[in-house]
């Protein structure tokens, strides 16, 4: 510590051009090149999305009878392929469908059967294993990264407050939640830079923190204490309120335009046991806004290299229940979006909704393993080897034939 440092010299140093922009804490850094050019976004829809409501099998003779109130209304503008129609809550995505940038895989599920617990179901989905044996310690996205030389923490972002099993494991993954918001005066930031000199390693991480905090909406430096408090309160409110998903999408887009290649986050609100016609549109609206915001944030060039997959722990019962909702089921829906996907079509094998065709006489029969689709998304986007996918990422999975879901 130089003895010459006094309040006056520090402040005059600040005044004579050692400006904030030159402060190491706010100077941009460059990272090593990413291992690929394509982008993958994995969205976990927590709570069990009702795939039958999101993408409705209008052409199935048994559909209307199973869902007296939920199957009501068929807007021709939402017709997808003459057999399936889109839920009005997803209407904002119709242009994507028409542009071939949106598709679905119907009647898919993980190998999870019968127990219908959200937590176990989500663990299965994120662990990517055929069965839950004890407590799982890593997720399939992390196991994929473990086999990629050149994948660094900045390659993958897990976004949101919760720790996701999907990205957990030994491979480095960056975590960030836009809830973190720092508001410091210019003076405070420079003093922070000063105290961090006592620990260069911590200083470097703090520098990344300041950089990230400045990227998710508003700057780090605030005019005064009142402004800081106002900023922080507004941010907390925004994230708690209805705009949290937009900030997550913005942050993901910023990172993916830069050196990140994979982003993952969760959206909740799918557990529609009651009044589904009122509740599901909100969640579908959130999903639609998230995807559109992501597309806008990425820009045409990066969107063109992007594949988004959205998956859920299980589908819901075919029949509507007594509270105008649906209960935990089995076969579900997977959503594909992005400029890289071969959209405008419904993938998968439709099992039908006649009672004999149902799983356990109550759920949509899963006709395929959704892990296979996630595997093909990684294989087609990043060229991950079939062997690695079948043995390490999804042990025991048969990848089968290429569904050609990407362009």
């Amino acid at each position: 510590m130089p003895k010459s440092l006094t309040r006056r010299t520090f402040l005059s140093r600040a005044a004579i051009g050692c400006s904030l922009a030159a402060s190491p804490l706010v100077t941009p850094v460059s990272f090593a090149a990413a291992p690929w050019d394509n982008r993958l976004v994995v969205i976990i829809l927590r709570g069990g999305l009702d795939g039958l409501d999101a993408v409705r099998p209008w052409g199935d003779a048994d559909f209307a009878a199973a869902r007296p109130t939920l199957a009501e209304g068929r807007d021709p503008a939402l017709d997808l392929d003459g057999y399936f129609g889109l839920h009005p809550g997803l209407a904002p995505l119709m242009p994507l469908w028409q542009a071939g940038e949106l598709g679905f895989v119907h009647a898919v599920s993980t190998p999870y059967r019968n127990k219908r617990s959200h937590f176990d179901g989500q663990d299965m989905l994120e662990a990517g294993l055929p069965a839950l044996d004890g407590i799982t310690r890593d997720g399939w996205l992390n196991r994929m990264l473990q086999g990629v030389p050149g994948a660094v923490a900045e390659t993958t972002y897990a976004i949101g407050r919760e720790s996701m099993l999907l990205t957990r494991g030994p491979a480095p993954v960056s975590r960030w939640t836009p809830e973190v918001d720092i508001g410091l005066s210019a003076q405070g930031l420079m003093l922070l830079e000063l105290t961090m000199q006592d620990d260069p390693v911590m200083a470097e991480v703090m520098q990344q923190a300041i950089r990230l905090a400045g990227q998710d909406g508003d700057g780090v430096v605030v005019a005064d204490e009142a402004a800081m408090m106002q900023d922080m309160a507004a941010d907390m409110k925004a994230l708690r309120g209805t705009k949290g998903h937009l900030r997550i999408a913005d942050f993901a887009a910023t990172q993916l335009r830069d050196t990140a290649r994979i982003a993952s986050f969760s959206l909740g609100g799918w557990d529609t046991h009651a009044r589904q016609a009122k509740n599901l549109p909100k969640s579908l609206g959130t999903l639609s806004q998230t995807l559109l915001r992501l597309r806008d944030g990425l820009g045409a060039a990066v969107w063109g290299k992007t594949t988004v997959i959205a998956m859920t722990e299980f589908g819901r019962t075919v029949r509507e229940n007594g509270t105008k909702g649906t209960d935990h089921g089995t076969g579900g829906l997977m959503l594909l979006a992005g400029g890289a996907v071969r959209g405008g079509q419904i993938y998968g094998t439709w099992p039908g909704l006649s009672e004999a065709a149902l799983f356990d006489r109550r759920d949509l029969m899963p006709t395929d393993d959704l892990r296979r689709w996630a595997a093909w998304a990684m294989r087609s986007s990043f060229g991950i080897g079939r062997d690695q996918l079948e043995r390490t990422v999804f042990p025991g999975l048969d990848l089968g034939d290429d569904p050609h879901m990407l362009l």
């Binding site: 440092l5 960056s174 939640t177 973190v180 005066s185 006592d198 620990d199 911590m202 991480v205 204490e225």
Partner: protein
């Protein structure tokens, strides 16, 4: 290097306090630990049985409503359950506040640190709704009373505890040749090895310990019969037990009829195993002193463990008496330790927490802990929290610490101490010069206090 009071409080205690003097020597630290648990008396946390009895009462009341035949029975049962969950949440938040007050006000900081360390070593949490938010009470009942005792007593208390039995699926484990299996009482159940595996890998011998899959399987069979219920707590049910003896690490346990005694015997032997001594000595040293601790210090701790059959204060003494315990830069504080020591440095009193209502604690303490990467009592798996600095020194983690540090005035509900004084309260009579300068040059009390709390010297033990 040898004992110094500042390091003693920072590295082995809960941090410096403007009110409570740091310990004067190692003997004083160990004497406090051997004395009564005054922090627990001052800031009580319910026992696990109290929490379990609440669950039992709720479940009884719910059955009564359901059996009443009333038209609104289903709805009433739901309402009751919702009220119960809200109440449970309230208890849990109060226990959290008391945990923080213990850290902030104690004169026996080593005990708080040890209670946290051993609770992490024996990580358990409720996976199903009923047992959720009972970890605090579990630690209070099964772990805290033994932190200054013998490891084997803690091990026995934990392994035969309802929360651990539930967490590691022991409640679903039955002997393949047990009476219950032969009568096909529950076709879905079979032998579950989860508790046996974690008991060997995490709780005792360690992942590199001298055991194999056969030992895991045999131990799992030996553990069958160990179960619990909401109404009775932990109990041994012979009809679930695998008949015949089992051989674990070359030794036979049990005879034709399994007993709880056999389980106690194997736990004692595992506790006294040399691999356990090595594993625990290493883990304690890593937690308190350095990511890569001095091998000679670890060896001294291991010897103390073996010489006393796992009398823990002797292991702590071996660590504290070793010069290596007092050198180096210390480890990065985990978020709970950071928040606890920050509150202690501000001189937090019970009166300061009067405005800590449930939603306030959630927003200002529990959510920040989660964003820092350490949601309260919610580690991802039974291996608990990572110990290495790298896991905690993340951009999100540090940003969240800074964001929280800037909220200290709101958390206290009063003006914090003048930063020019606070820098000494938090870092002792000789704070790093840069930090002292920053505390003086800060534009506001808020930023000055935050800068002190974020200083590398405060972030490390």
């Amino acid at each position: 290097m040898a004992f110094d009071p500042i390091t003693a409080e920072t590295r082995f205690g809960c941090g410096l306090s403007p009110v409570v003097a740091p310990p004067t020597d190692v003997a004083a630290m160990l004497a406090a630990l051997a004395g009564p648990d005054t922090a627990a008396t001052a800031h009580p946390i319910d026992s696990f049985d109290t929490a379990r009895n609440r669950i039992a009462a709720m479940s009884k009341a719910r059955s009564a409503i359901r059996n009443s035949g009333s038209d609104t029975a289903e709805a009433d049962a739901k309402t009751l359950r919702k009220a119960f969950l809200r109440e449970t949440q309230g208890h849990w938040i109060r226990w959290f506040t008391h945990s923080m007050l213990r850290r902030a006000t104690t004169g026996d900081g080593l005990r708080e640190r040890l209670a946290f360390f051993w609770s992490d070593h024996f990580t358990a949490k409720g996976k199903k709704n009923n047992l959720s938010k009972t970890t605090t009470a579990y630690a209070e009942s099964a772990i805290r009373p033994h932190v200054a005792g013998r490891f084997e007593d803690m091990l026995t208390a934990v392994v035969t505890h309802p929360l651990m039995i539930a967490y590691l699926d022991q409640q679903n484990s039955i002997g393949p040749a047990s009476t219950a299996a032969r009568k096909r009482e529950n076709k879905k159940l079979g032998l579950n090895e989860n508790l046996a595996r974690e008991l060997l890998e995490l709780h005792t011998l360690g992942v590199d310990g001298p055991y194999g899959q056969t030992d895991v399987r045999q131990l799992a069979e030996l553990l069958t019969g160990l179960n619990w219920s909401v109404h009775h707590g932990a109990r041994y049910l012979p009809r679930l037990a695998e008949p015949g003896g089992e051989r674990v690490l070359g030794k036979w346990y049990g005879a034709q009829q399994g007993t709880l005694e056999d389980i106690h015997n194997v736990l004692r032997d595992l506790a006294r195993h040399p691999a356990t001594a090595r594993h625990l000595a290493w883990k304690l040293a890593v937690h308190f002193v350095a990511d890569t601790p001095d091998p000679d210090m670890v060896a001294a701790m291991e010897r103390a463990y073996l010489d006393t059959n796992g009398l823990l204060p002797e292991v702590y003494r071996a660590m504290l008496d070793h010069p290596a315990a007092w050198t180096g830069t210390g480890t990065l504080k985990q978020p709970v330790a950071f928040i606890g020591s920050a509150l202690r440095a501000t001189g937090l009193t019970p009166a300061d927490t009067a405005h800590w209502e449930a939603h306030f604690v959630r927003r200002n303490l529990l959510r920040p802990l989660q964003i820092m990467g350490q949601p309260w009592e919610d580690a991802d798996g039974p291996d608990g929290w990572p110990e290495n600095d790298l896991a905690w020194r993340t951009p999100q983690g540090l940003a969240a610490r800074l964001q929280w540090a800037l909220r200290v005035p709101e958390i206290l509900g009063r003006e914090p101490t003048d930063p020019r004084q606070f820098v000494f309260d938090a870092l002792g009579p000789q704070p790093p010069e840069r930090v002292r300068f920053a505390a003086e040059a800060a534009e506001s009390r808020r930023e000055g206090v935050a800068l002190v709390l974020m200083a590398p010297a405060f972030q490390r033990h």
